[in-house]
Amino acid sequence: MSVIPTEVMKKAHRKLAEYHYELRPVERGYANRTLYINLSDLTIKEKPVTEEMKRTFTGGRGFALWLLWNAVKDDTRWNDPENELIIANGPLCGILSYPGTGKSTVVTISPLTNLVIDSNVGGMVGPYLKGAGFDALEIQGKADRDVIIVIDGDTGTITIEEAPLEEPYSHLMARELTEMYAKNEADMRNVAVVAAGIGAEHSRYGILNFSWYDLRRKEVRYKQAARGGTGTVFRDKRLKGIVVRKSGWSAKSNNAAKPELIRKASQRITREIAELDDKQNQMRRVGTPYLVGIMNDYDLLPVHNYQYGSHPEAHKISKEVWKALFTQGVPDGCHYGCALACSHAVDHFHLRTGPFKGQAVLVDGPEYENAAGLGANLGIFDPIAILELNFYCDTYGVDTISFGVSMAFAMECYQRGILNRERTGGLDLTWGNAEAVLEVLHQLARGEGFGRIVGQGVRWMKQFFAETYAADPQLLNDIGMEVKGLEFSFYVTKESLAQQGGYAIANKGPQHDEAWLIFMDMVNNQIPTFEDKAEALHYFPMWRTWFSLHGLCKLPWNDIEPADNALQPEPHKVPEHVENYCWLYEGMTGIPVTGDDLILQSEKVYNFQRVFNIRRGSGRRANDYPPYRAMGPVTVEEYESRRKRYDKQLKEEIGVDPAGLSTEEKMRILREHRMKRYEQLLDAVYERRGWTKDGIPTLETLKRLGIDYPDVVRVVQQALGEEGKN
């Protein structure tokens, strides 16, 4: 609980700007305008959404990318005032009767990558922002003091307010602001908040927390726009919070063209979830942590900085443990009405460390990524420690994935003698030392000590350790799990060439929301040829991109499946659910579509984002390589842990008899072979996508997709010219 009463905090607010606008109904999923706020000069204005924007960029991430493209220069840095933080929903956001329809996408230039990051997030901010009248919120400039933005969709009023007293911890601030801007307890459900935290000020991977009011628990909860440092940009602009309120948002509020189609899809999937979820992944009881045990069984669970794929203690942090810890029997959707309801929490968790030591709190999570990344990958198999790390990452406003990977990198450096207690400020970073990891996180939040170093991310640490401690840069590059500056999410990809590509080619960096092909590739062997892999690496990234154009969660697409899905052609696409989404789109907009039409929507935005990367000095073949730890064994121990498998591959795939060869020699041969195969993969993927050998979308591709705008063409022409010289 806050020390300062909410009413005292509110009294300390000083209004710096106010804007009144006309409230208008949403039409067929679109509010048809975006909101622009400049924190430097306190401008607040509306911008129209054009038919051209809808045709080319659809909404959500597409709108946000277009707005950012037009706002920044080629060399705008993440902490320049002209960088923008953009929150966009999408035409299918806020349907509510269909699961997973509350998402927003946050887009900005990332402090980690210097490229554009897009990060999707649940909660009710997305629907309420649309209900308030806006398809996107665009924030530019920097305030000269800590401020909040309040968007009141009931009165049509926007204010920028100085907010000096709110606490820099998300779990407090989200509650404070919700109480402050709700009329009473019953009204709390009509308020949603965006908040960061103190850790976002001292790391490159700060997050944004997007809230909703849990009616049963009477608690304010939040999900995260976690990847890429969105919270760091937020705090750099001296934003403390954003409040959006909208009363009366319902399934009808989108004013859909053919609501009967939306009802049809919603009823079908709701019935499916009710009948089948318990027999499938138990999303309603466990959520994504169901994956921990499975990944461990298939040698895919990252352990000790992705050195290994399984651990004998993994059962201590697997499905049944979390099921027992989560409060059961409460509707755990991160938007009102979600039938998949997988956003679980541990109530009354007593903290053992940090500024809230001794207090009982609600811990939202963990999701799979947190269990793997704050757990197994650090050698931690204590669920209580994972919950404490989860809580503090969230309230400090720190990405659990980037923190987890940065910590794992530091711990391996400690294992290998690059770091020692002197260099860590006395901390013993032995695998499994949860106490030390917690201390690093607390230091990071305060901007002190070794925590401050870990808060810079893997790419920065690689350079720092090489320069400061004369560490071998080759080793650091091999074990530093980042691409384009963004840390990997938590799957071991050593035996899946397709997933290596899925991670490394991804526009934003190695986040699996573009593709998750490990089982199709490695276990099912459904994509054996390069062409098969390239086709999968075309379809699935495009399909998954589609969700972010519309304000949708991907989980209802394939974390639940129809009973007869396995018998359908191309079951991994879950064709009945693709049909559901076609119904949703036509139901909302009135425009009939096929699955191919949806893919085309994504292709436009995806390729535009690739060109945006090129504009920022990346986005080419040289930027699409994973570290070798993601491709094969870096160390002798790794090779020996899978010796039978690797020796067999040497013999059967490469034609080399391993007998008599040293492990180092075998590793060298294997590495050469895998690198060559990766190059072949890139060639196949680029060709399939309509890109050059350097990974640049061709002019024909731009034209085909209708994104051949003059300045887009300029960027590509310049890049093609340079390609010709190389």
Binding site: Q280, D297, I518
Partner: protein
């Protein structure tokens, strides 16, 4: 002893009377949502303990896993 090739990738030692369940256990395929075909024909789950696989059968065990 013969071998059974699963998913055109994994090899399991075959013996007469081997069932689908035996193959799943041998490969440690613990994921609950599996689809099994033998020579292109889907074998329902309730037959996995009794359906016997021949030495040269083409066995596919697909994991209908979403993930990520």
């Amino acid at each position: 002893m013969g071998k059974i090739r699963v998913n055109d990738k994994f090899e399991v030692d075959w013996k007469p009377g081997m069932t689908i369940r035996d193959i799943i256990k041998a490969l440690n395929f613990t994921f609950p949502m599996l689809v099994v075909t033998v020579n292109g024909k889907v074998i329902p789950k309730d037959e996995w303990d009794t359906y016997q696989v021949g030495e040269n059968d083409n066995v596919r065990i697909l994991h209908m896993i979403a993930g990520g």
